[in-house]
């Protein structure tokens, strides 16, 4: 019974939503970059005069197992409509990445990614497939609960607690299982082939010179190196499939996976494939671990610390402290009482800095405001309220976490 309870806790327990936020940012950003790259050849892939007209996609769908497929573009041959849907998909990816109206944005992103994939199936590689699946998990997970504009707005309006909510981590487990399925099935299929068994499989790929990217020494394509890369590929993939769940081994097998994909990215031209694969590894880390990393990194960035003094007679309002604390997740900005008429920012060496810019540069959570610096200035100013600060000379993050 004890073991069943442990399994139940591991699968359906509750935890920090930060992992969902991080996976959401990375997945949606990669999807956006991917679609922006393909947009250059929109005419070739998504129009009736291109390589893949609608009838082509329809026939492709019918040739498979003929199951119903999501394709909002399945009836239109008007390229203006397709282009509008394509642009909407890019907007949905952007909104999902920054976490604005996250639930709606992520649903739109997933449905449109699937539709666009079904509209031009012949240009997809396995990285696209994983990206589509990760978009599904982002959609069903509480992805906007952390690292999102939605959370900042909720904090600002006083509708969210300063402490991150605990959420079901079941979607995170699904992501991990997906990674396991990807790597286990790839090893399964490879082991069925002759050349993976005889240790020569990795010799073949470099012979396809259309994949060539950066050069490697000649011995890379000779024995025993070919056998080493062939068998180590299988071992690494098998390791990620099953050992990444074990915390003592997790870092090492995932680092091996990153090394494998870094090698692929360096040598072979497969756009975003390695990035998508490695981004899925994020699902093996708990949200609490990401938060602890951010804190540790902030502790190490001593040179980046600043003290920001508020105008005399003002203090951070509770909503202001909560919002600024969520943005300053590295904890490098200390807010304190000032005696001047305006904000004053002082670096560790005593240098006076532009307070708005200094905070903006130090808080990755604020970087989205580079798009609208005026809005950032207003947010900082409106974080103030008359009266002494209840907790002077403390970072807003400390206010949040206290």
């Amino acid at each position: 019974m004890k073991h069943f309870k442990a399994i139940d806790r591991a699968l359906f327990g509750w935890g920090s939503p930060v992992t969902f936020g991080v996976v959401r940012i990375v997945t949606a950003s990669l999807a956006l970059i991917n679609f922006l790259m393909i947009a250059i050849d929109f005419d070739a892939w998504f129009t009736e005069r291109g390589f893949i007209p609608l009838w082509h996609a329809t026939k492709w769908a019918a040739m498979g197992d003929n199951v119903p497929r999501i394709n909002l573009l399945g009836t239109t041959t008007d390229s203006r409509v397709t282009m509008a849907v394509y642009a909407l998909c890019c907007v949905a990816c952007l909104f999902t990445a920054i976490g604005l109206w996250t639930r709606l944005s992520s649903i739109v992103m997933f449905v449109l990614i699937v539709s666009l994939h079904h509209r031009a199936p012949d240009i997809l590689h396995s990285g696209d497939t994983l990206m589509r699946q990760m978009a599904f998990f982002v959609m069903i997970a509480p992805s906007g609960a952390a690292c999102s504009i939605d959370r900042l707005l909720a904090l600002w309006k006083g509708k969210a607690s300063q402490i991150l909510p605990m959420v079901s981590i079941w979607p995170q487990r699904l992501m991990q299982f997906q990674v396991t399925i990807v790597y286990f099935t790839t090893v399964w299929h490879k082991w069925g082939g002759t050349h993976w068994r005889d240790g020569t499989a990795t010799w073949f790929v470099p012979q396809l010179h259309e994949f060539d990217r950066f050069p490697v020494p000649a011995f890379f394509d000779q024995q025993p190196f070919v056998a080493i890369t062939t068998y180590s590929t299988l071992l690494i993939e098998l390791g990620i499939a099953f050992l990444a769940y074990a915390k003592p081994l997790r870092k090492w097998v995932l680092l091996a996976g990153v090394a494998l994909h870094a090698g692929i990215e360096y040598r072979f031209n497969i756009p975003l494939f390695s990035f998508v694969m490695c981004s899925s590894y994020l699902a093996f880390y708990d949200g609490e671990e990401f938060s602890a990393w951010a804190k540790r990194i902030g502790m190490k960035l001593k040179f980046a610390r600043i003290t920001v003094e508020m105008p005399q007679g003002n203090s951070l309002s509770s909503k202001g402290a909560a919002t600024l604390g969520a943005l300053d997740f590295l904890g490098v900005v200390n807010f304190g009482q000032g005696d001047g008429d305006c904000w004053v920012a002082t670096g560790t060496r005593g240098a006076i800095k532009n307070p708005y810019l200094a905070v903006l540069k130090r808080c990755p959570g604020v970087w989205v405001y580079f798009l609208a610096p005026g809005a950032w200035r207003r947010l900082m100013d409106r974080s103030l309220e008359p009266g002494p600060s209840p907790i002077p000379a403390k970072s807003a993050a400390e206010v949040v976490n206290s």
Binding site: F51, H56, D122, H209
Partner: protein
Amino acid sequence: MYDLGIPEKYVKERYRKFLERMDVDATDSWKRPNFAQRIALLAYKDPRDPPVRVQLRRHFRQMEGMYKPVPKEYTEFILFDYIVDQEKLRKDAGR
């Protein structure tokens, strides 16, 4: 793909993928007329001299394995011979 620079190659990889799915085996043969028609459109520069015929040629080398010699020359054959649909060509070109 051989001649493209690295950034351009990164963006244009989808063409290589598409081509991979175009000539693998006979089950892909239904895709070829449209492929050839698009090639004709790309080659259509002068309305007085439109492309009338497109030949898709396959170039390949058979690699038996690591310890066997790799042929230096590509084998070549005509994969598909297509007579261009002039009406569609003019329509697609907006003429």
